[in-house]
Amino acid sequence: MSYRLNVHKLLVLSIALGVPGQLVAAPTVYTGTGITNESIFCMGVDVGTLNMTAPTNATRASGLSVSGSFVGNNNLNPNDIVMWVQLITTNQPYGGQPASPAYYFDPAPSDPVNTNYVTLNANGTHTATARALQYPFYWNVAEANQTATQQSYNYTNYQTVNAVTSNRNAVFSDSPQRARTPNAVWDAELDLVCWNPTTNALGMLWSGTYGFSTGANMLTSAIRGITQNGTVNGANYSGPTPVALTAAALTAAGFNNNAAVPGNNWSITSACNCVVPEPAVIYSLLSGAFMLIVVGLCSKPKGHIAQAPNTLAA
């Protein structure tokens, strides 16, 4: 008997026996709103552009898929790293995470540490065996430093001036699913931050939410599109206003006082601190220095110069 016949027999039998997943009408496709070419400001300075796809269940029958990217520009301070942070609240958590209304950081301690979830060691190497949520970021630092040639970790969150010129960006992608738990309500707060790895200060660049619900049949029944939290850090400097990402949440999750992380006290500031000094400021400083030099030269004793005519006259 050929393999092909076996496959078809299995298919027919499964249909005849009513095995789930067969002869089921295609799930309704829901699509929430996304974000298109939104300028992200930091202390009034345009530091880059954010795009997020519209969350949809088109390829995730019991959840959603969403992706996005932040492309920075040369106004970003090269000493900072732009990273994604995500916290989740759901009535159907797994792995011992708290149920809504509580939030927990993504990844959660129950998520496997392996090739997809490698952890950065203190010496800069990374391992696939140790479990250490040392950083509160969605992609860990090792993933964030991926090069495009490392296909298995093809995410490049690491944003530097050089990275900008090579068109790297902070990529986000998620495909949450609740395929085994009916009537799930799953929401995420997604935050874009610039991280100062020396001080562990997180400057808020953008904050928003999205989510989905499932019905009794565990198929997606609603999609909640990208909704921005507060005001983007623009001209009024008010900054985005995350609900879940707080200093208290970082402490509760154990990220503070973690000896494995240099400068292990995290802080969050809505007053974004991710910009390089503006060119006007640099120009002013240089101009001032130049003027001081000129003034210094011009204030030298004139007697030395005045002697020349006398010599000639002699």
Binding site: Y3, N6, V7, Q92, Y117, D174, S175, R180
Partner: protein, 202 residues
């Protein structure tokens, strides 16, 4: 023994047989990694076949294809998750994986899958394990409606089909496949570990 009981007993025996990474070359060995697992009691296997040309007509390949035919087995997690769980792509060549990726470029997860190039022997052994798993766990043996947690796509340039397995059956399959990879010295090591952890958790 009731009919259901007999079916379960058969499935237990069949599940135990899945523990072997069987080599078609005859140098097969018995792997005990899955043998200690509870047997999959009444699990269903869901199978769908598609043709790359979209015709809906399957040209399902044999499990043991000629070794010079490009082939990729993609192992994907179907259970509850907060994060994108990238599939593990086991191919018989880097070119095969590249062509597979091109055929699935719009998938949200596959383009970021972990890539493993297996030896011809390793590939054949894994395919044999998959074939055995599918043949043994026929839906006719059970009416249980277990949720599938593992999807395995068997891709070649001319055909693709997907089989889905519940937790325990999928776990046994993954562990056997991992042993096959280990035997074939495929790199990176432990490439199926994340999936094994996830299915163990569920």
């Amino acid at each position: 023994m009731s009919r259901d009981g007999a079916g379960i007993a058969v499935l237990i025996a069949l599940a135990l047989s899945l523990g072997a990474c069987e080599q078609r070359s005859g140098e097969g060995h018995t792997v005990t990694g899955a043998d200690s697992e509870p047997a999959p009691s009444g699990h269903a296997v869901l199978v769908k076949s598609t043709a790359p040309d979209g015709s809906g007509q399957s040209t399902t390949p044999e499990a043991a294809k000629p070794q010079n035919v490009e082939r990729v087995l993609a192992f994907s997690y179907l259970g509850d998750t907060d994060r994108p769980v990238f599939p593990t792509l086991v191919g018989n060549s880097q070119a095969a994986i590249g062509h597979f990726l091109s055929a699935h470029s719009k998938d949200p997860l596959i383009p970021h899958g972990l890539q493993v190039v297996a030896t011809a022997e390793g590939m054949a052994a894994i395919a044999n394990v998959l074939k055995t798993a599918e043949e043994k766990l026929k839906p006719a043996k059970s009416k249980e409606t277990a949720q599938p947690l593992l999807s395995v796509s068997d891709w070649s340039a001319t055909a693709e089909r997907t089989a889905q397995f519940p937790a325990l059956a999928g776990l046994a399959l993954l562990r056997s496949a991992a042993q096959c990879l280990k035997k074939s010295d495929a790199k990176p090591a432990g490439s199926l570990d994340a999936l094994i952890i996830l299915l163990s958790r569920d």
